[in-house]
């Protein structure tokens, strides 16, 4: 571990913390319907959109109405995206002439993008046309992110409500998220990425003879515009198969910093949005602090573990020490320009948020280094988490922590002056425990039956880790992978001739992702709906404060205990075994 390495981590945290109140304040104004500096340009566009959609943005919805619109919209978009992928062969912008996807892989991919997971069983540059990427997947990058943020806005209104059951209007929140937040940030991001060398063209691939006379073919495409939103919207689905490890997706140390900053930018800033919308900024900072503490621990552990190197490396007498001119450490599956710091930071951050893009091969991480992304996801994606979904997931944990604190001191638990009672706690438990249950059950099915076996690549404990990672990732809408695990076989690459999906993995994963998205989403909306009409009691001397370091510590402990108790046995079987031994398998 080097000074330069820690410096990069410190700079990252400083920039993220500085941007949180700025962007958070801006987003609070957007969700309150106030004027912002982009209003002169975007207000007309917003009005036209409402007219085209034939919606009345003034109409208010209670939690059930809001939930219904969310579900109808998502279901219809699922169908449309499925049709796009299955009819790929007849669409324009297809210079490589790719055929349509198989039904099972398409099911998985569509479920993956609708649920903001972006799990990659598909191969970007070898199976998808530019049309599918732009008009199919990239649109979902925007929309699934915006749906999560819109629902969060509704949930926050429920927490902050003074008596009314109305949580806002889905169409208004969706439109304002897309036009005022995601689109402007994506344009800025695209420009930065293009300046660094990320490709953006409609031309097909080019083939040439290399300097020493070999043939090489460059896959190209409109990548920059898609990568900007894939990072910002905690989507993570790569334009190219190896995602942000590919130089055309992430060419420099600077582009790497921008991309990894974009992962947490919105999820972090939303804590400040929350603080402003409930009228107490300290409440937002308390959530930010709890998230940041867990993030930093993850980064430090992953960085240390990767610098230490792997058993395979030591067995083959490969150097692991850092020295003049080399980072040392475990560089298997890592790019020179990112090194150990840039790679391990990314691994911790992309799994803390439910982004799931990768700039290195997680499957080749050390046992301990690979456990960090797993544990991050197992918290239920609340260490910043997905845009919107991370914070509403975190709010469920907050209520759980408040509830436990209430039990300990024998008082009726309250949050923001509202009593937490049986009905809310039931929904909280559904929201917080459902994903853990789903992960364990699906992993068990995949391990215990013969159908799970064809997906596994590595032998012994790593094979188990791959399966556990796959269903943890899909069951928490992350989308990163121990990528040896596959649901798609492509014997005659490039082009999808002769390719077929592993139906079991595609279907189980697809269903897992959809449920993992919508069960907590509905639970959070239900809690918000229930809190919305409650009276606010003034804070007194006996009130348990939720904006203090004590509460931050309690919240972290509750999250760690829920995740640790649930998953510890599973972790023992995979990553922990490998971390404890130098034996090769």
């Amino acid at each position: 571990m080097t000074f330069e390495g820690w410096l990069q981590i410190a700079i990252y945290l400083a920039v993220l913390t500085a941007l949180t109140p700025l962007l958070g304040g801006y987003m609070a104004r957007v969700y309150r319907g106030e004027r912002v500096f982009l209003s002169p340009v975007l207000d007309p566009l917003e009005r036209v959109t409402y007219r085209l959609l034939r919606v009345n943005p003034q109409a208010r919805q209670d939690w059930k109405g809001y939930a219904r619109t969310t579900l109808v919209f998502s279901l219809l978009f699922w169908i449309v995206l499925y049709v796009i992928l299955r009819t790929q062969g007849i669409h324009p912008f297809n210079p490589e002439g790719f055929d349509s996807g198989t039904w099972d892989v398409s099911f998985n991919t569509v479920s993956s993008f609708i649920s903001n997971t972006n799990w990659q069983f598909y191969g970007g540059e070898t199976t998808l046309s530019y049309f599918s990427q732009m008009a199919g997947l990239a649109v979902q990058n925007f929309v699934s992110a915006a749906v999560g943020m819109a629902v969060l806005a509704a949930v926050i209104r429920g927490f902050a409500s003074r008596g009314t059951a109305q949580l806002g209007n889905f169409w208004q929140d969706l439109t304002r998220t897309l036009l005022f937040i995601l689109l402007p940030l994506s344009i800025v991001g695209t420009l930065i990425l293009m300046s660094q060398g990320v490709v953006q063209t409609l031309a097909g691939s080019i083939t040439y003879t290399t300097a020493q006379g070999f043939d090489q073919t460059l896959a190209l495409g409109p990548a920059a515009s898609q990568i900007a939103i894939k990072q910002l919207g905690t989507n993570g689905g790569g334009f190219f198969n190896v995602n942000s490890a590919f130089p055309f997706e992430n060419p420099t140390g600077f582009s790497n910093f921008v991309e990894v900053l974009f992962i947490l930018l919105i999820p972090a800033a939303l804590t400040a949005t929350f603080g402003r919308m409930v009228g107490n900024r300290r409440q937002g900072w308390a959530l930010y602090a709890a998230m940041a503490v867990m993030l930093v621990v993850g980064i430090a552990v992953a960085y240390g573990a990767e610098q230490h190197g792997t058993p395979a490396q030591r067995d083959a007498q490969v150097a692991t020490a850092s020295a003049d001119g080399t980072t040392g450490g475990n560089l298997e599956g890592k790019e020179q320009r990112f090194g150990i710091t840039g790679s391990s930071m990314w691994a911790a951050i992309t799994t803390a948020a439910s982004n799931g893009s990768v700039n290195s091969a997680h499957d080749s991480y050390t046992g301990t280094g690979g456990a960090v992304p797993l544990v991050n996801m197992m918290t239920g994606e609340v260490i910043f988490g997905g845009v919107g979904s991370g914070l509403y997931g975190m709010l469920l944990f907050v209520l759980l922590a408040v509830f436990i604190a209430g039990l300990m001191v024998g008082r009726t638990p309250e949050y923001l002056g509202k009593k937490i009672e049986a009905r809310e706690v039931k929904f909280v438990l559904i929201g917080t425990l459902y994903t853990a249950l789903a992960v364990l059950v699906t992993t068990a099915i995949a391990i215990a039956t013969k159908w799970g076996a064809p997906s596994i690549y590595n032998p012994a404990p790593q094979g188990f880790s791959e399966t556990l990672y796959a269903y943890t990732s899909q069951g928490n809408n992350n989308g990163s992978a121990f990528a040896g695990y596959t649901g798609f076989v492509q014997p005659n690459a490039p082009g999808n001739v002769g390719a077929f999906g592993i139906t079991f993995a595609d279907l189980l994963g697809g269903v897992t992702m959809l449920a993992a998205r919508f069960v907590p989403l509905l639970a959070a909306l239900a809690v918000a709906g229930s809190l919305a009409t409650k009276r606010v009691s003034p804070a007194g001397a006996g009130t348990f404060r939720t904006d203090t370091p004590t509460f931050v510590a309690l919240l972290v402990f509750v999250i760690v205990i829920v995740a640790a108790l649930t998953f510890f046995p599973a972790l023992l079987l995979g990553p922990v075994v490998q971390a404890l031994t130098d034996q090769l398998f």
Binding site: L53, A135, A211, F240, Q313, G333, R337, A361, D363, N458
Partner: protein
């Protein structure tokens, strides 16, 4: 319910046109005008013919050139995948062993006494993308001795070229420095010609 269905369909159409077509196509236009070379993949030409991209590693063999990092994908830039072997995997250890032995065999003639501990890991371990355009500076300095002797150039001059073709950290702090193998080899060719 019917109103929601209608609005949903309209929203899908409107947002697909705005975000799926207008946004990427406008961005493509901007990229093609402002950064035409970068938007098309940073292609590098020699004698008017494209020989590679400065961002994409390619294969070099024999004693006359600096070698890129090992690749399990055959340096493919259109079918990319990770090696994906786990940290305790036997095959991975074998792969490292082979790569390390090959590196030592190649360089020891020009760097007598080169030990395994002197070889930086990037020279032995495969990159994530399979087309990492860079090698570490330590790796380049070892190879420089070979290239200098085979090409009849002074070691100092070759090390100078290594420095000139090193991409530093972003803004001086972000990422790790790396030596761009393709650009370095083209510079060596020009120098030796």
């Amino acid at each position: 319910m019917r109103r929601e269905l209608i609005s949903s369909v309209l929203a899908i159409v409107v947002f697909t046109i705005l975000l799926g077509l207008a946004y990427p196509l406008v961005m493509t236009g901007v990229g093609q005008v402002v950064w035409p070379n970068k938007a098309d993949g940073s292609q590098v030409e020699r004698d008017g013919k494209v020989v590679g991209s400065r961002l994409i590693g390619q294969e070099f063999e024999g004693p006359r050139y600096f070698h890129s990092r090992p690749s399990v994908t055959g340096y493919s830039a259109n079918v990319t995948y990770f090696n994906n072997l786990g940290p305790n995997n036997n095959e991975l250890s074998d792969l490292f062993r082979d790569n390390l032995a090959g590196y030592l065999r190649r360089e020891r003639r020009y760097t007598p006494g080169l030990r395994p501990a002197d070889v930086p890991p990037d020279a032995v371990q495969t990159a994530a993308s399979g087309v990492d355009p860079h090698i570490s500076e330590a790796n380049a300095r070892i190879q420089a001795r070979r290239v200098a002797q085979v090409r009849g150039l002074s070691l100092d001059r070759v090390l100078e070229l290594v420095d000139e073709n090193t991409d530093g950290r972003g803004l001086g702090v972000l990422g790790e420095p790396g030596v761009n193998v393709l650009e370095l080899n083209l510079a060596i060719d020009a120098e030796a010609a």
